[in-house]
Symmetry: C2
Subunit: 602 residues, 2 copies
């Protein structure tokens, strides 16, 4: 049977063959680790995920969360594995040991999380969620705030939240109206209502620490007048002990399509006039501070989308190998029926899934290594280079992984046929759970605007050019390998065309026809994602070709040959569609903007 | 507020401007109808759907079905509207009055059903489901069988079923093992278990008549040895009265992602050795007979997929007009926030949805008129011509509508943002309910094999050429209209490319490289569907241009201008992507077949 959750061989391929994690281990910062110790940790994660998390995944979906008098109850089956997960110190793996982490390279932390998130996303998200809040306090808090909160959040002794959205302020955060008034003791009193708050309230941790966006009286309109406050569920005294129950309450939970194990809360602050919070950083600096957390959250959501796809591919592959149905198209009429993996249309779907799942895995792990590289950079220039790439890639990791991850779950359901639509099998939950990844932390459309407006136009295309040069390096390497020339040329053509599309859109976005450009922002994000997939696939083919040339063991040979063939599939069967999409972008049809509102229909 | 369920103006446009239903009304067969009487019927359908069906749509989803001791209970809220629907004689509208229908032109029947299915698919499906069974008996039954069953099935006094699938015989129907042994009285005793039986058992009708595929002893292997039997839940005596409870029982129901109001049953036949049925037609002719019902069911499932999309577009359009969020991209910084329909990315999604929903509506209604034309044809040749087109289009109506309908529901959720993921809003149910349309009655992959194997290769491309000529006619007409030339040329280019792809795939499908062709069968189905959308959009633009030239009222002008602009969007922003897909098909990358099974991963 196929491995469950995810493909360990492929993870090892990325970490040690594509991305050279062993070079990282020579750095002072990671000296404590060896390939062997990391391998053991990933294996332990896999075992834990299979033993404790996966068995309650469907049950958590069925049980869901409930709200009783302001108290949210998570699925009862989550309690034990959550406690084991926290005790096992599986959160904040890439943070330093003194803050409760394990000091892992970020890409290796992702490998561990692939098993955890893949086995049970909503369960581990409760414990994982505190990191973003902790990080923000670590970066912007006072020494006392850091001491009180960071380690407890990193280790999930307390969990975190993220209170941005209000009913009239969703994608437009600047429209929020929650108010914060300064008290004589330096704390702030908050009043307002936030909606769609993931894990805003639950019964798994002794305290929940919520960063809240709000306005102080007289603050400027829009995002420039937003401040950020730390609002604990139970007040935290200066000695770290817990004080009184703060006036922040869950007043509603949403019934959702998926992620039923996760509480999506309406949070009411100050309904009794006694909600207190600490200011983080300076007044009116809230958006700048929140963006740090938001970027982390976006990468995590993209990762979530990818993982649902990765899990679904494993399930579908397994099913396709085991499910016997129909004759082989080229076999004898009276031959016995064959596993459906023999049928060309099933193979088409599996190849599409494999090409994207592996491509996304490479892209996400690669982006994580950029964090390590920025951190280890010797010069500011070098550091800025990596940071620029991270910023460019963030909306792509978020939206492209969510989109393609979802599409993989849909195709997995098609491989299962009728069984896939039934709750008895696991893929329908993956599909429902995955859909949210295209929506929360900024919809696909918001990510596309970020990519075009903030990442392409604002820096004059600098980061985009860094990216294109990286792609060209891989193309150059591929041209020198036997048998990869045709793929290298096809990707080169696509990357040129993408650069052309980027230039046309950027120019138009700066003109009065700005709307014309933004009507193509999301297709551009998709096209750029496809080119990134092509890049990752070509890179994989280069590594696999080298490994085969060096002589590989039989089992490894199969893996490498599969890599090259899957890259061929992506570059020759998928990328041509992207060229069509790029033609459409460059043509920049403006019909969507030319429509009068009445023309859309009655 | 936007109209709910569907767009009446657009339905009228298709019926009376694009398809010339008024010419049909001059035929003897339809003389009883006038535009006015048909209008009234559609209006009545709309009112009924809004008043009785829509209000229990979400409730039916929440309540679901239950199984208690072999009895299936439908959602209790369904009972009253179901009875009203049956009393109102809303089923089998295109059948003759003497058989319980209303003798409507099939395209007009679709218009009525758009409201009914759009308001509550799972509810009306119980009553609508009998038609297929009735039709099959009408076509292949003995005079006595016809008298006993047809009218009661058409009027939903009794409902129908369709018992094909077994756990080891899904897509491969020929593998089924249910057995039928002839009794001395001419009936047959059946033994076996069928799964995934939609509405196989429920408590809404006094009897359920299930056509069952089974084998008689000594029958040839595969599909050539399949016979079809009529198995009533309660035995039907020769005077039409009901006899004893037959030995056919629901022994399980599936928990599904969606269509919760619909019972998906495991049906066990003959567990007490007393399941009786009538043979329909001759022994071993079951597949030929069943195909009539299956084709009807496939068209209905495609229609279902389209309707979920059509409903979702109406909801999303309405939401986009009412939801205020964010500033206009070209407005002043301090201007008030605007409805999200002003944002280019939201417009891109709405245009995509509108282009496809209307295109699918035209395509489906057009296909229905082919039935009327085949029926009214003066010569066998003419009749065969229309039938060939119907056969060619059936897998497209089924799979393309299901695919694009689903994609519309997904985009509708994106327009809603976080609200779309919540059950409080209607689109998440539409999305869950729609997904099944790509799966049951033959998955997308099965439809693609049907298209390539049975519809393109088997008739040597004859029907495909008929289709291409129809497209060319529209292109010719468009070239003569002011302002449509650029669209006509773009569609001409796409249709040539499609013909090229069809030729390459057909040739390869007949060669030993058959698998290479079939790995591109589904992309080809999608590309052909896109070209059909382009055709329907261009046709609409031609009609709208003519109407504008004749001078239209202000409200109508808006509609026509919207038609032309939406066609522009489809042809210049969507069709270029299809050209890329056609490049990929023609390149015919064979990587999917070249993969060794082990290469797919561990």
């Amino acid at each position: 049977m196929t491995q469950l959750i995810t493909d360990r061989r492929d993870i090892d391929f990325i970490l040690y063959e594509q991305l050279d994690t062993q070079a990282l281990l020579k750095e002072e910062k990671y000296r404590g680790f060896t390939r062997k110790s990391l391998d053991m940790m990933i294996t332990e994660a896999r075992n834990f995920a299979l033993k404790e998390l996966l068995p309650v995944c469907a049950e958590g979906d069925r049980q869901g969360v409930s709200l009783d008098n302001g108290e949210v109850k998570v699925p009862p089956c989550f309690r034990r594995p959550h406690n084991l997960y926290v005790e096992g110190a599986w959160t904040s793996l890439h943070e330093p040991e003194e803050l409760g982490g394990q000091g892992l390279p970020p890409s290796v932390a992702r490998a561990v999380q692939e098993f955890m998130v893949g086995a049970n996303y909503t369960l581990v998200n409760y414990a994982n969620f505190g990191h973003g809040t902790g990080k923000m306090i670590d970066l912007f808090g006072t020494p006392e705030q850091k001491k009180l909160f960071v380690k407890k959040l990193y280790t999930a002794q307390w969990t975190g939240g993220m209170l941005l959205t209000e009913s009239e302020a969703g994608s437009d955060v600047g429209a929020l109206t929650t108010e914060a008034v300064k008290n004589p003791d330096g704390t702030y009193s908050l009043t307002g209502t936030k909606i769609f708050i993931t894990n805003g309230e639950h019964d798994l941790a002794e305290n929940i620490i919520s960063p809240v966006l709000a306005r102080v009286p007289g603050a400027p309109a829009g995002t420039r007048g937003i401040s950020i406050f730390i609002v604990p569920k139970y007040w935290v005294n200066s000695d770290g002990s817990l004080g009184e129950r703060n006036d922040i309450w869950c007043t509603g939970i949403e019934e959702k399509m998926g992620i039923h194990g996760s509480a999506c809360c309406t949070m009411t602050l100050g309904s009794k006039g006694r909600c207190r919070g600490f200011l983080l950083g300076e007044e009116n600096q809230g958006m700048k501070i929140m963006f740090h957390m938001m970027n982390e959250a976006r990468l995590n959501v993209g990762f979530q989308g990818f993982v649902h796809g990765a899990v679904s591919y494993q399930y579908a592959l397994n099913y396709a190998r085991e499910r016997v149905q129909g004759k082989d198209l080229t076999g004898a009429k009276d031959a016995p029926s064959v596993p459906i993996i023999r049928h060309p249309d099933v193979r088409r779907m599996l190849m599409w899934m494999k090409a994207h799942v592996e491509g996304l895995r490479s892209f996400i792990y690669y982006t994580e290594t950029l964090f390590a590289k920025a951190d280890l950079a010797c010069t500011t220039e070098e550091c800025d280079y990596y940071k620029a790439l991270i910023e460019l890639f963030t909306p792509l990791v978020k939206a492209y992984s969510a989109q393609r991850g979802f599409e993989v779950t849909v195709q997995a359901m098609q491989v299962y046929g009728g069984a896939g639509y039934c709750k008895e099998y696991p893929v329908e939950q993956q599909m429902r759970d995955c859909k949210i990844a295209s929506i929360y932390e900024g919809t696909d459309g918001i990510q596309a605007m970020d990519l075009l407006g903030r990442k392409l136009v604002a820096d004059g295309g600098k980061a985009f050019n860094y990216f294109i040069k990286q792609v060209q390096q891989t193309i150059g390497a591929a041209k020198e390998k036997n048998g990869l020339g045709h793929m290298a040329l096809a990707l080169e053509n696509a990357s040129h065309r993408l650069a052309e599309a980027a230039a046309v859109l950027s120019k138009t976005a700066k003109s009065p026809n700005v709307k014309q450009a933004f009507a193509h922002a999301f297709p551009f994000l998709e096209a750029m994602g496809d080119v990134i997939m092509g890049w990752m696939r070509l890179w994989r083919a280069v590594v696999a070709t080298d490994a085969l040339a060096k002589g590989a063991k039989a089992k490894d040979q199969e893996f490498y040959l599969g890599q090259i063939k899957t890259s061929e599939f992506f570059i020759h069967a998928v990328l041509p569609c992207t060229l069509g999409k790029m033609d459409s972008i460059i043509h920049m049809c403006n019909a969507a903007n030319e429509m009068e509102e009445a023309w859309f229909g009655n």
